[in-house]
């Protein structure tokens, strides 16, 4: 049962990884990278590591995505200032 869930999640994660690399729109690429981290936290939970799952859910999908978006905002704002 665990293997089936991991295979399904893994296929979604690999698709999201390809999207994160190939997409031209930076915001969509950042969100795809966040999806990878969120599904990775489910996989940690299935692999009996709840501590790691909590950390990954809070940091990988929350703070990392936010930091990328802040960077994007700062760069776009720099464009407008000219």
């Amino acid at each position: 049962m665990i293997s089936i869930i991991i295979i399904v999640l893994g296929i979604i994660m690999i698709l999201a990884a390809f999207l994160a690399i190939r997409l031209k729109n930076l915001l969509s690429a950042i969100i795809s990278a966040g999806v990878i981290s969120l599904l990775a936290s489910v996989i940690y939970l299935l692999l009996a590591a709840p501590d790691v799952a909590m950390t990954e859910a809070a940091i990988g999908s929350g703070l990392t995505t936010i930091i990328f978006i802040f960077t994007l905002k700062k760069i776009r704002k720099g464009d407008l200032d000219d």
Partner: protein, 227 residues
């Protein structure tokens, strides 16, 4: 064209490197010697329910100290690179509903973070997770309230004093127990297995780590997201 060929060759080499590892990988059925020692030691010597916590705080305590140092260095780098320039403050107030709601949620999120890092030796979670939750509370304030001004001196105070206290608690181990006991949690009474006030100094050390991580990451978020 030639660049593409080199990239393909590099990836192929990587795959060839991993394949034997995957093919001959034998999964253990039992814990190794070191892990068994840690599990038994966590139950018998430290009275800590969460074995991961006892590995991070006690058995690999020096590594965690180094890790907190790396976090501090990265924060210092971010702060150095993104120095605040004197810019005119754009005053765009968010709506009353958003401000009140986020201030109400802020307290609850901080409370959850404190719960997580004080119960690090009993339930999943601990200083790192609790610290990150505290950071998300401040993130909510940054996102909701545009005219927010942090009290930076309190943030600086918490950050530096939690780092100093971490080392001082470690030195207490050397003073009270012996030469090889840096960061030994047995400086406080070990208590009963499964109670909140148990496992010696582990809840104290993990709370300090939580405050340290929370204040460092809040500084990073503030530097990167602040106007």
């Amino acid at each position: 064209m030639i660049k593409r060929i080199f990239i393909l060759l590099a990836l192929l080499g990587l795959v060839l490197m991993f394949l034997p590892f995957l093919k001959d990988f034998d999964f253990h059925q039992e814990l190794g010697d070191l892990s068994s020692q840690y599990v038994e030691g966590s139950i018998n010597d430290l009275n800590s329910q969460n074995v991961v916590t006892s590995v991070i705080v006690t058995y690999r305590g020096l590594d965690t100290l180094g890790e907190v140092t790396v976090l501090f260095l990265a924060t210092a780098g971010v702060g150095f690179l993104l120095r605040k320039k004197k810019t005119s403050l754009r005053s765009r107030r968010s709506s009353e509903l958003l401000q009140t709601g986020s201030q109400f949620l802020f307290v609850l999120i901080i409370l959850t973070g404190v719960y997580i890092f004080t119960h690090g030796h009993l339930t999943p979670g601990g200083g790192f997770q609790g610290g990150v939750l505290i950071t998300t509370a401040f993130l909510l304030l940054i996102l909701a309230d545009i005219n927010l001004k942090f009290n930076h001196s309190i943030l600086l105070f918490v950050e530096s004093f939690s780092g100093v206290f971490y080392v001082i608690i470690g030195l207490f181990g050397i003073l009270l127990i012996g030469m090889n006991s840096f960061l030994d949690p047995a400086i406080l009474p070990l208590g009963n297995f499964g109670k909140l006030l148990s496992a010696g100094a582990i809840p104290l050390i993990y709370s300090i780590i939580g405050l340290k991580v929370g204040s460092e990451l809040t500084t990073i978020i503030d530097k990167m997201g602040g106007e």
